[in-house]
Structures are given as structure tokens and as C-alpha cells.
């Protein structure tokens, strides 16, 4: 563990719950850069992250975790590259109510491909309770097809204990991978 703490990055589509997850976990009021949405994002929510979210948490063993959230839209992909620098792992969130969650998964797995290869990743499926399809199985199947056996969890991004589970799983992946 580095003394400066570990940096983890949250990624995924617009409205999946990245800002919510970081807000749920963070011990400090999160740094957010939400602005009014003017496009199709409005169908989901009034505001959207355009630069980054930042939060901070301490694990039971005393290790410190810095949490960075990325903007979801492709046009902010320059922030993805900036925010993943020096990061240890990726929390990729997928919305179960999306029209094609497995396609969303692939899009972000590809976009963050270099980072995932040099770091670790875990998948969190949000809004499973509202989905009318078995998204968990679809995601698992797609990961098998890609030969990327990443841990997958169904979570409620508003619940700290569920998001914490993702973080712990990611740290376990990182510990065994090293």
C-alpha cells in the first residue's frame, strides 16, 4: 500500500450512479462538478458531471482510498485518461435498465482497456430491481466471451455498504493479481 493512499476510478454510462456511489462512500462532502444538462441526458436527470467527482474513504485496516468519478459521456473521454493516471483500479457501473447493458459494458471495457490491463476492475450492476431481464447473467456471459473474468455484483449505488463491497472486491482482485 502506498502511504499516499490508493486511487480508484468510477466509470460507466450517464446516470448509472457514479456520483451517487461516491457520495454514499465518501467520508468528506464529495467534490462534484455537476452542471445543467441540455441534451438526451435530461430524459434521465437534470444535471450531469462534466469534469470529475472526488471522495475519500478509510478502510478498516486504516488504508486510505481516493475515489474519482468520471463523466459518462464519450465527449469527456479526455477526462477518463486524465483521471485514470496513477489509478490502481476501476469500478465499472452498468445500468440494468439500459436497453443493452452488455453493450454498455463492452463500450467502457474497450474505452478503459489499457487502464484495466495495467490495473484491475470490478463490475457493479445498478437498478437490477427495476430491470425486466436477467442482466447479471448477460454480463457474466459477455465477460466470459471476452475472456475477462471480472467480479460482478448487483448493487444499489445509494447504499454505502453495497458500494463498499465493490471496493473490497476490487482490492482483493488487486491483492491476488500482484
Amino acid at each position: 500500500m502506498q502511504s499516499l493512499g490508493n486511487k480508484l476510478i468510477f466509470a460507466g454510462p450517464v446516470g448509472v450512479g457514479k456520483t451517487t456511489a461516491i457520495s454514499a462512500l465518501s467520508e468528506i462532502p464529495p467534490v462534484c462538478t455537476d452542471v445543467a444538462a441540455t441534451d438526451e441526458t435530461l430524459a434521465r436527470k437534470a444535471t450531469t458531471t462534466v469534469a470529475m467527482d472526488y471522495g475519500f474513504m478509510t478502510l478498516e485496516d486504516g488504508s486510505q482510498i481516493h475515489l474519482y468519478g468520471t463523466p459518462g459521456q464519450d465527449r469527456f473521454d479526455f477526462m477518463w485518461e486524465i483521471l485514470t493516471r496513477g489509478g490502481l483500479g476501476l469500478v465499472l457501473l452498468v445500468d440494468a435498465t439500459s436497453s443493452d447493458p452488455a453493450a454498455d459494458l463492452e463500450r467502457y471495457l474497450d474505452a478503459f482497456g489499457d487502464f484495466i490491463r495495467s490495473a484491475g476492475a470490478v463490475i457493479g450492476i445498478t437498478r437490477s430491481d427495476l430491470a425486466n431481464q436477467d442482466v447479471y447473467s448477460a454480463i457474466q456471459q459477455r465477460l466470459r466471451q471476452r475472456d475477462q473474468p471480472l467480479p460482478v455484483f448487483e448493487i444499489d449505488a445509494r447504499r454505502p455498504e453495497e458500494v463498499r463491497l465493490l471496493i473490497e472486491a476490487l482490492l482483493a482482485v488487486l491483492a491476488t493479481g500482484e
Partner: protein
């Protein structure tokens, strides 16, 4: 809803009326403000107006500049500046100044939910350029107010 102060709401209303992303006359008016700004300054080489969530609305840019990328980067820079200024309890962002070895970039709000970004050559007159840019930002706001009045009337 105060359309004059909420330009994204204004644009939505224009879209609802015209069915296009942004009405051509409004866009033409915005572009004219930017063109006049760049033409009237010895230091400015380009200007870009974008929504706070990173969509380009009007631009006068040197060739090779991708307006979509700059619109996204401008909105991210300004949003992060707003958050930093607010958390440091320094009021509101007046402008953001980026100094490069080959020229500067200034960013500021233009009304609510829009930002104006300008690009300069080497060693520009900072005060003059910022004042000219601020006037253009105010003209953008008043164009938006006129548009809102037209829609209301």
C-alpha cells in the same frame, strides 16, 4: 421559469418550436458576436461558445480545431474552476486563465449555462482581451434575453 437567465431552458423552448437543435437565427446571432470579437482584437485567434454540459453552440475557430472536443474541455475546466472557487469561498468564477508558451486561453461564463472560450496569440494584452471578451459574453446574454422575449411574445 426565467428563460433569460436559463439559456438551456431557452434552447429547449427554441427546439420545441423549431424542432432543430438550435434555431439558425439564434446561432447566426451568436456566431456574429464571436466573429466581431475576434475581428475586433489584434490578440484573439478564435472563440467558442458552448453549453455548460459541453456542446458547442457557436464558434469562430482556427482550422484544425475540433469544436466538440474544445466544448467538452471548456465545460470541464469551467465546472472544476467553479467548484474550486466555491469551496475556497472566493465567490464566483470571474474567468479562467490558461497561459501557454505560444498563447493564452481565457474562459468565462456567458449568462447561466453557457461558457465563452477565447484563444490568443503570443503575449496578448490581458486586460484589454478580457474586457473585450467580457463584453461579448454580455452580448450573448442579451441575445438570449431577446430570444426569450420573442418566444414569450
Amino acid at each position: 421559469m426565467d428563460l433569460a437567465s436559463d439559456i438551456s431552458a431557452l434552447v429547449k423552448k427554441i427546439e420545441a418550436r423549431d424542432g432543430s437543435a438550435i434555431s439558425e437565427s439564434f446561432r447566426t446571432g451568436l456566431t456574429a458576436v464571436l466573429q466581431e470579437l475576434v475581428d475586433g482584437s489584434e490578440d484573439l485567434t478564435g472563440a467558442l461558445l458552448n453549453s455548460a454540459d459541453g456542446h458547442a453552440w457557436a464558434e469562430v475557430l482556427p482550422s484544425g480545431f475540433d469544436k466538440r472536443r474544445f466544448a467538452a474541455m471548456s465545460s470541464a475546466l469551467l465546472a472544476l474552476s467553479d467548484t474550486t472557487v466555491r469551496e475556497a469561498r472566493k465567490g464566483q468564477t470571474t474567468n479562467v486563465i490558461l497561459e501557454g508558451s505560444e498563447g493564452n486561453i481565457y474562459l468565462m461564463h456567458a449568462g447561466s449555462n453557457m461558457s465563452l472560450t477565447v484563444f490568443t496569440g503570443v503575449k496578448p494584452n490581458l486586460g484589454m482581451t478580457l474586457a473585450q471578451t467580457r463584453r461579448a459574453a454580455e452580448r450573448v446574454s442579451s441575445l438570449a434575453r431577446e430570444m426569450a422575449a420573442q418566444l414569450a411574445g
